[in-house]
């Protein structure tokens, strides 16, 4: 009895850890294929009309995607892409691009 209870509890713990593991840059990279034609493979865009995403703050990137999805921020290209993203997709994409090198930096 005690053993089965322990099994159930440990199973629940594993499941909750998986659910709470937070954004995944790896999953974000998989999802980022459609972003690459404008923002570059690693978020360092070469066309100056498209912002560099590499090294940008993760929560700013997530906010931008959330605002494009809700229509708060309007852009014909980004609105289309963001419309199909889940909250997890947005968190994963932000985690991926924020971790890329040679991008934007703090300047004052």
């Amino acid at each position: 009895m005690n053993r089965s209870l322990a099994l159930v509890l440990s199973g629940a713990l594993v499941l909750s850890l998986a659910a709470c593991s937070g954004p995944s840059p790896e999953l974000g990279k998989e999802k980022s294929v459609v972003c690459q034609s404008c923002h570059g493979v690693d978020g360092n865009s070469t066309d100056p009309q498209f912002p560099r995403l590499a090294g940008q703050y993760e929560d700013y990137l997530a906010r931008a995607l959330t605002d494009y999805r809700s229509g708060q921020r309007r852009n014909p290209i980004m609105s289309g892409f963001a419309a199909g993203l889940s909250d997890a997709d947005i968190a994963n994409l932000a985690a991926y691009f924020a971790r890329q090198k040679n991008g934007v930096y703090d300047k004052w």
Partner: protein
């Protein structure tokens, strides 16, 4: 013929001057960025509501920065603080600020990737 050549030269010279004028001057941008620094000059500075960090601008493309400022000025892009600041910027101000912020970092001055919270 001489007159034609002179006219062409004049047009080219004027074109050059116009181009030179529209290009941003990073030194002028550095003098104009006082209003930007209060938020963008503080690493990890947070926008209060909704809560997120204001974007890093160093190394961003100049054209994107100019476009963003113009969108704030025209109110096509929403953010009351940025709209108020952009409202007072001329096209030349925007070009100068963009030239200042878009410059690549001096070596060894690259901030760490933004994946971790400060």
């Amino acid at each position: 013929m001489q007159t034609l050549l002179r006219s062409i030269a004049l047009v080219l010279a004027l074109g050059y001057v116009a181009t030179a004028h529209s290009a941003g001057d990073p030194a002028a941008g550095a003098r104009k960025n006082g209003m930007c620094q209060g938020c963008h000059g503080i690493p990890g500075y947070r926008h209060v509501y909704p809560d997120y960090r204001v974007p890093r601008l160093g190394g961003q493309h100049a054209q994107y920065i100019v476009n963003a400022l113009q969108e704030y000025k025209s109110k096509a892009r929403s953010n009351t603080t940025m709209q108020a600041i952009a409202a007072d910027l001329s096209d030349q101000d925007m070009q100068d600020l963009a030239a200042y912020y878009s410059a690549k970092p001096a070596k060894a001055a690259v901030a760490p990737a933004g994946g971790t919270k400060p």
